[in-house]
Every structure is written in structure tokens, then in C-alpha cells.
Amino acid sequence: MDWVRRVGAAGASDGGWKGDFPLSHELPDQLIVDCGALRLPILPMFAVRLRVFVEWHRCEGRQVEILAPEDRGAMEVFRQLAIDPRIGHEESQGGEDTILPVTGLTDHNAVETAAERTREILEYQLPDVSPLGQAAFMAVAELCDNAIDHGRNPLGAFVAVCRLAEPRRQVSLAIGDLGIGIPEHIRQRYPEWTDDGYAIAHATQEHVTGTGDRHRGIGFSEVFEAALTSSLHAARMCIHSASGFFRLQVVQEQRKQDVFPAASFRRGTWITYDLVSV
């Protein structure tokens, strides 16, 4: 019997975190994800999560069928984002919202290419959000560098970057990997940080690293530093790893952070980062 998951019209809401795409060996050989009712906006985290689901199960030898959205606009973005490479990927045209389709990263050269491509498109093709180019470049470079370094797994890491118009103009990026996750990585050095959410929060502080090198652990700080020196209204990062969910917002240089227990355990590390234009 096939396993069928229907994604509702609002399946891409709630920051793209909503909807369950299980990575389980227990699932049958035939999987269907019905995105027929999906509507815009399609957020990058939704796209990354669904793509990882597709890639992981296909690597496990399962047949995965994605039923594309019926809504024309949603279908166009769905294809541009390369959520299912077999459905076909259309190169983003001027005026479209896909800056970087879901892109698999298996080495640091791929990270550099993704960061450069993001900056180029923002600065030369999208004048309404071009001031965010440097901040987006730094975010893709540092966060994907981390994902490749610390999130080692056979699939690598995945990144997507989009421009969104509502509720404000913003650039949103999503990164996911199926590595050991931030809490477990950081506990190699700080075993006392048993709560996953607080372990993630600590990991975003300067010079806190699981590597043991006192000069490391600066990537998150630099991502926010680049945001603070850009012309933007706000920056908001959410990290879900293991059973922890961490959110850090910077609005007009005021930082606010929240730690929540996650609704469910999530293998690896999943990050959304929104740069909201002035």
C-alpha cells in the first residue's frame, strides 16, 4: 500500500516548518506527496524539507512521486525552486522570486558558488532588495560552511534563497542538513548543556564551538554583524535541531532571543534566516 501525504493550501505557511516529511526506514516502498492544493507563498524551508525528503527516500531505494501544485503561480515557483528535480527546474527570470533554487552542497566549492550566485542575483537583478546582498552572501557562506563542516552526512547540505514581498520585502534563506545536529556537536565540548534549545542558543554566541579551537565559533556572530551593517529593517533567524528550537531577532539593533522546546525531534540542523528590507 502506498504512503500518501497531502500538503494543504497552507502547507508552506508557518515559516515553512509546518507539515511532517518523515525520514523513516519504516515507510513503504512507494511514497506520494500530493502538493495539488499548495498555494503561494512557497517558503524556502518548506522547499528544502521536501527536497531532502525526496532525496533521502530515493537514496534508500523508494519511489517518491510529487504531485505538483494545481495553482499556476504555485506551480511556477515550485519548478523554479527545484523541489523535485524530476519535475524540471526553470531558470529564474527577472522579476521572479527564486534567487537560489534548492541546491545540494557536498563540498566547500559548492558553498562558495552558492554564496556568489546569491550575491550576484541580489545586487544585479533585484534592485528592490539589492542592499541585502552582502548580508545574504555572508549568511549563505558562513551557515553553509558550518553545515558542510559539522553536518557531515552522505546527502550533504541543502540551501534555498527566495525573495518575498509580503508582509514586507525580504530575502529568506533556508539551510538543512542531516548531520549530528548542533546540540550534540556542542555537547562534545560542553556536556553540561543538556537542554537542546539552550545548547543551540549557546552555540550562536561568539567563540562557543565544539571544535576546541578558540578562534572558531564566530560564524553566527558574523552573519548578524553583516546584517547590522546592511540597510534592513530586521533580521530573524530560527534554528531547529534535535529537540530544540531557537529564535533570534534583531530589530533596529535590538536583539531578542527565545528558546522553545521543539514540537518534534528533528534530525540534523535546520535554519531559516529572514532579512527584512527597510
Binding site: N109, V111, A115, E116, A141, D145, G219, E222
Partner: protein
């Protein structure tokens, strides 16, 4: 004597810690005995902090500590690139030679 290295040969944007490490290892050999290494960022539009920390800040720190036999200077930076380099140096508390 000075050994000048044009980073723009590697692209307009430079990122990732492993790439910075690769260039640093290469330059430690090339600049040995030259007295001065000039890192020329002319044409480079963006750099990531990890790249700069591994290449520039670590080299500057090693130069101060006498671990390499040349001083390190930076030239041709845009304000954005310069800001990232200064932050990386500040975090390592290293200094560059005057790039005159």
C-alpha cells in the same frame, strides 16, 4: 622585497574556511624568504569572515609570533571587505603591516 598575491584571480567573492586554509598553506611556501607578503584584494567584492580569519588574520598572527618569516600587508580592499578583515584581525588581536 615583497611578494604580491592578487586574490581576484580566484574570483570576485571569496568564501569558506577550507579555501582560506588552502591559500594560506600555499602562500606560506611562496612568500618564505620574501620579507613581506602583500595580499591584493583589488577587484574582490565580498569575503566571508571564515575565509578572512583563516587566510589574513591567522597569517598576521603567525607573522607577529615569528612563525613565518614575512610580514603581512593588505591592499586594494573595498570598505566592505576592509570591515570584515578588521573584525577578523580584532578577534585575533593581530595587526597588519602598514600597506603603503
Amino acid at each position: 622585497m615583497a611578494y604580491r598575491y592578487a586574490l581576484a584571480e580566484h574570483g570576485l567573492t571569496l568564501a569558506t574556511r577550507p579555501f582560506g586554509r588552502e591559500l594560506r598553506d600555499d602562500l606560506v611556501e611562496r612568500a618564505a624568504g620574501e620579507g613581506r607578503l602583500e595580499l591584493d584584494f583589488s577587484g574582490v567584492l565580498s569575503v566571508s569572515h571564515s575565509f578572512v580569519d583563516e587566510l589574513v588574520a591567522r597569517l598576521a598572527q603567525e607573522s607577529q609570533a615569528g612563525a613565518v618569516d614575512f610580514e603581512v600587508a593588505v591592499l586594494g580592499t573595498t570598505p566592505e571587505v576592509d570591515a570584515v578583515i578588521r573584525r577578523a584581525l580584532g578577534r585575533r588581536e593581530a595587526q597588519l603591516a602598514q600597506a603603503a
